[in-house]
Symmetry: C3
Subunit: 200 residues, 3 copies
């Protein structure tokens, strides 16, 4: 449990950094960058909890999440150049983050008593909707609609988690396997520039 909590805070921290750096090339000021980091970090979980009517929201009920976000934003402000050179490291962290938050989102939804089909959607939302809201606010095409395999990897991982859960696989193994699937799909798709087909 302590490990999980540490991972949640770390994931939030990483999302805040990547959100704050996401608008760097634009004409945004420091406040805009900080706001974007904040939205990226809380957006997915907030949408999930509002849809499921689960209150208080995680970051409202536990102030440590806000601190993790603030430290992330400050880190982005102080070391923007170093962090930008670490692109590959960041891609790795972000990929770990979406894998982790997908599985946590599925578990939270299940614990609130919804059906597994809904839990799969909530897992994906937890992981990707922060970035979608950020991109919408900053007038970007949301990452979801770009060619990369991103949200679809989360959905597949969420479904695997639910299948293994149904067959009573131990939770820790299940988390590890499902996260690994998400991470593998995303990294392989990135490496070989794979993308899903288009419609029609």
């Amino acid at each position: 449990m302590d490990l999980q909590y540490a991972l949640e805070l770390s994931g939030t921290f990483v999302f805040a950094i990547s959100g704050a750096l996401a608008i760097r090339e634009k004409e945004h000021d420091l406040f805009g960058a900080g706001f974007t980091g904040f939205i990226t970090a809380i957006g997915g979980g907030t949408l999930r909890d509002i849809l499921l009517d689960s209150h208080p929201l995680v970051w409202i009920g536990d102030i440590h999440f806000l601190y993790a976000i603030l430290i992330g934003i400050l880190t982005a402000f102080i070391f923007p150049n170093i962090l930008s050179r670490l692109r590959k490291t960041f891609f790795l962290f972000d990929t770990l983050g979406i894998g982790f938050f997908t599985v946590l989102g599925v578990e939270k939804a299940l614990s609130l008593g919804v059906r597994p089909e809904i839990a799969a959607i909530m897992g994906m939302f937890s992981a990707v909707m922060g970035g979608v809201i950020r991109d919408t606010l900053t007038n970007e095409i949301p990452i979801l609609f770009r060619k990369e395999v991103y949200a679809s990897a989360c959905l597949v991982g969420a479904i695997l988690y639910l299948i293994l859960h149904y067959f009573a696989v131990d939770r820790n193994y299940n988390m590890l396997i499902s996260m690994s699937l998400i991470i593998s799909i995303r990294m392989i798709a990135m490496k070989y520039k794979l993308s899903l087909p288009r419609l029609g």
Copy 2:
């Protein structure tokens, strides 16, 4: 009641198809198209229920809505060309859909005890906000702001429903009359390219 439920599921199915096809010309992959279909189908009712604090959300509490959406998305994937050639048929279905969901939205809001003025807004939101959210996410000018008479037709129909409801007109007649008004306004405005005046 059974007829109404069948209509709700059918409306959801049609909205999912039109949402999935809406981004066809764009550089979106199948997942993006499916996501767009999903958002279009659930967006309006979800916003209404969150504003009114009505939980569980319709599609979370009743899994059949999710299935109606998935079948709609699959239909759009399998028959995109046939469906695109059926544009006029689709316009008709979409118009029936917004008429129907407006009236249902008004009824749901009234049943939750809000004032009629609020119920009229909720009826319109139920019908049009799915499309608005979809257009916002895909960086389109939302349909609401385009020249067509669309949301305004829903608002007028919602107000008519509330007036007839006040005068205790039988519910079935009222639904029929108010939906017909919405559908007529939209079809006449389309045929004669009518639009509301601009500001100033």
Copy 3:
């Protein structure tokens, strides 16, 4: 209390006018302008109350807010040219409005039992998110991300309010001082074209 209520309704009225006029140069019809006025007026408080799970929403529970909005929209429709010539007056009203709504938002959040750090964010959200949602829907770069000092002034004012509140400064004085700070920052930044530095 009566004065506060009158100020809330007046602020809502002003926000509705400025929202309706905001899209004037665009190809929007009257309905779009009215819708934009509505969203601008309710957006911030609605987001705050949904995040804090405070129901019914202010404008759903008290119909006078809807009337204040409708009168604001009608005013914008009838006198668009006069109002546009009053730009400076409007800037003043808008600045008073964000100052006032920031402080009210902080107070409401505190009264719902959240921590001061969260209350500061909620105060800022109350004041600026209506405009952010409006800009997002109409495909503008949200005001938050433009160069002006806007949301950051609200955040600073919210933090000052919380500090004075902590030191048990009388509420009326506190409101006056914190609002004055927000208004001063914004007006000085506007006059001298100050802006926050960019990232990196």
